[in-house]
Each structure stands twice: as C-alpha cells, then as structure tokens.
C-alpha cells in the first residue's frame, strides 16, 4: 500500500522523513506529489534503499486555467511517474477526467468541485483515478467534517456505479499527519467504506507507479510492442 505525500517545501517534512515514517507504519511506498511550484529535491533511489520503501516521483498540478494545466501536464508527463491534477472546481475536474495523460484527479470534491455521471464515465474511459481524500475526515471537526463525509459518500456512489478507478490518500503534509493503513481502513469503515475498498485505493497508487514505470522504461515502444531479449546483436 502506498501513501501520496506533500514533502518539504510543500509540506513540513522532507521526503526522507516521510518515507522513514511510512516504512515504519507498514506502507510499501510513498508517492511524492508536491505542487508544481514547490518541487522537492531528493534522491529517490538512496531514500528507497535506506528505508526499504518505494519512493515514486510525482507532481500535483495546481493551475488557474485549463490552458495552464494542459501545458503543465505536457511538461511533466515525460519526467514524472505520477501526474495528478488538483481538482476542486468544475472546470479543473472536467479537464482532468477528459485527459488521459492525467493519472489522478486529486480531491475532486473540495471547494466548488463536484462529480456527476458524465465525469465518472469520462474518467473510466480515460483511466483517470478519482482521489478519496481522507484528510478532511482526519483533521477537521463538526459541520465541516459532516459535509466532507457526505461528499465522499456521494463520490463513492457515483464511481461505484460506473466502475471508475480511484485512489485513497490521507494527504499528509508532514510525518505527523501520516496514518497507518490499518487506521485508515478502520476509519473508512466508520464512514461507510469497506476495508477492502480503502486498501485497494491505497494499493492503486502502487499499481499506477508500476504501470507508468513500465511504459516509461526504454524497452516499451508502444502498447503491444516492446523490445524483447532477441534484440541483441550477433
């Protein structure tokens, strides 16, 4: 299971510290998805080797307009393993689900964002994952939390019907905000998601990383075509 984190300078803890804590908590990996304006500098292989946890390079695109977001997706797609788009407005949500270069639509239900059957169908077609962001359930109280739980329930109803892909994250910005997978599964159960639902959502980050690494590796040429072992010169 993987957790998608915001590391220093986007958050309060460095990639190394988040990876160390995540490994302690039983995660298999972390996806670093810093905002495109506050990238982190880190050596993924070194951290990965030191703490025995996979470190995936990613980015979260936070744009004001569709044009800007579209340009950023094109820029980052070739270098980053996972490209997420920060949702939360009708236009950005729609842009993300209609763009097959986007891996994840992050927090689609925040602010004025909403999801309907049209978006769910488009996301299923383009393989864009909706994110279930549990940070609001973990770190807010009272009426705000009630509304956040309602919006997550609504999202689950819609994407469940269209079988759209999804990921789950607690969106930690420091190592103190990380929560172990078992805790997240238990919390999910309390707000109406099953344990396997949460666990699959956490594991989906890992599947995404595997798939994108395969596609971006040199042996991959196009879908169905890859360089085999008989390629060597005689």
């Amino acid at each position: 299971m993987y957790e998608a984190v915001h590391a220093h300078p986007d958050g309060d803890s460095t990639v190394a510290r988040l990876a160390k804590t995540a490994a302690d908590y039983g995660f298999d990996g972390v996806v670093v998805r810093n905002d495109s304006s506050t990238r982190a500098e880190f050596d993924a292989d070194e951290i990965s080797a030191a703490y025995d946890v996979d470190v995936v390079e990613g980015v979260e695109i936070n744009a004001d307009s569709v044009e800007q977001a579209s340009g950023a997706v094109g820029n980052y797609r070739t270098d980053e393993t996972i490209v997420t788009v920060s949702g939360g407005s009708p236009t950005m949500n729609r842009f993300a689900v209609e763009n097959e270069k986007v891996d994840v639509l992050a927090h689609p239900m925040t602010d004025s964002g909403d999801v309907n059957h049209v978006l769910a169908k488009a996301a299923a077609e383009n393989g864009v994952r909706f994110e279930f962001d549990l940070s609001g359930v973990l770190r807010t109280h009272g009426g705000r939390r009630v509304r956040i739980i309602q919006s997550l329930r609504k999202l689950e109803d819609i994407i469940g019907y269209y079988d759209a892909p999804y990921v789950v994250s607690a969106t930690p910005r420091s190592h103190l905000e990380l929560r172990a997978p078992r805790e997240l599964a238990a919390l999910g159960e309390q707000i109406g998601f099953s344990k396997p639902f949460i666990e699959e959502g956490l594991a989906e980050w890992g599947h995404l990383a595997d798939r994108n690494r395969r596609i971006q590796s040199e042996s991959f040429i196009e879908p169905g075509v890859k360089r085999g072992r008989y390629e060597e010169e005689h």
């Binding site: 803890s13 973990l138 770190r139 103190l176 905000e177 919390l187 159960e189 309390q190």
Partner: protein
C-alpha cells in the same frame, strides 16, 4: 462492593499507542485522555464513545524528544472503532501529533511486554545546515527535527552531507 463474577465482568482489549510531536511540546495524560474521548465522541457519537470506553491507563511522554506512548483500554469487540477514533486525533492541546496503534492485547501485561518501551528515546541537540542556514536540531534514532524560526521541519540524517551535520553543539 463485591467483585462481579467472572462471566459478568466486561472484557477489554488494550491498545498500545505511539505518539510523536515536534520537540518541546508538552503533552500530559489528562490532555491525551480528553482528546481520546473527544475523538471517540466525534466519530462514534455519545453511545459509541460510551461503549468503546477509551480510558488511558498508562501514559509516558518525553517532551524534549517529542515522543511518547500510551495504553488505552477499549471494550472487547470495539477495537476497530477505537482505532479509527484514535487515528482522528490530529492535535493535543494545539500541538500537532502523529498517532499510531502499534498493537492490541487482551491483557495489560502482554501489551506492555510486546508493544511498549520499544522506542529508543535518547535524543540530543546538534547544529545542522538546513536550507543554507545553520539551525539547531533534535536528533533521535536517525530522525532530525530542525527548529526553524516559527516552526519545525522533519528531516532525517539522509538529508545532510557529513559537513552539514556532524558537528556537535559547541
């Protein structure tokens, strides 16, 4: 009052909880107990909170290092609910806190032996160079909490070259 016969006594599960804060946060048992009950009440409601119990039996916190551990009593069959409620504790007395249930046992002694007292809490202060500035940091078991002007940054020894890290506080 006379003891209840054994078959009428409630059965309990004991949750070992690991706590982590920024250095110099002071958290006491009463504050943690209050947050546990609030978290239970907020997530499970009054009836759920009452049934889960969530009493803090033991509490130990080292405020210089910012780590601690606690033992929380939960009614048998309510450990998942309690786990979820404890996960929702994000701050104690306004100090951000990381919590994790490190294990569950049926007796206090088993929980103590298996899950408590495992963390090295030896911490020391050092000078490090973080973000091109010299800072004071609290080092514990490879984790390095750097004191910035108004906040902290969580780092590890991997974030420093030898020249940035290895000199003691003079």
């Amino acid at each position: 009052m006379k003891h209840l016969p054994k078959h009428l006594r409630p059965r309990w599960r004991y949750l070992a909880v690991e706590l982590e804060c920024w250095p110099d946060s002071s958290i006491d048992r009463r504050a943690f107990q209050r947050e546990c009950w609030y978290a239970g009440q907020n997530l499970l409601g009054d009836p759920g909170g009452a049934r889960a119990d969530l009493s803090v039996l033991q509490f130990d916190f080292d405020s210089t290092a910012g780590v601690g551990e606690a033992l929380v009593k939960v009614r048998h069959g309510w450990s998942d609910e309690a786990r979820a409620a404890i996960a929702c504790i994000d701050a104690i007395d306004g100090e951000p806190v990381g919590v994790r249930v490190s294990g569950i046992s049926g007796t206090i002694r088993a929980a103590e032996e298996k899950y408590l007292g495992r963390r090295g809490q030896d911490s020391e202060e050092r000078h490090v160079v973080f973000g091109n500035e010299e800072r004071v940091a609290v080092v514990r078991d490879g984790s390095v909490d750097v004191r910035l002007d108004a906040a902290f940054a969580g780092t590890t020894d991997l974030d420093y070259d030898d020249s940035d890290y290895d000199y003691d506080l003079a």
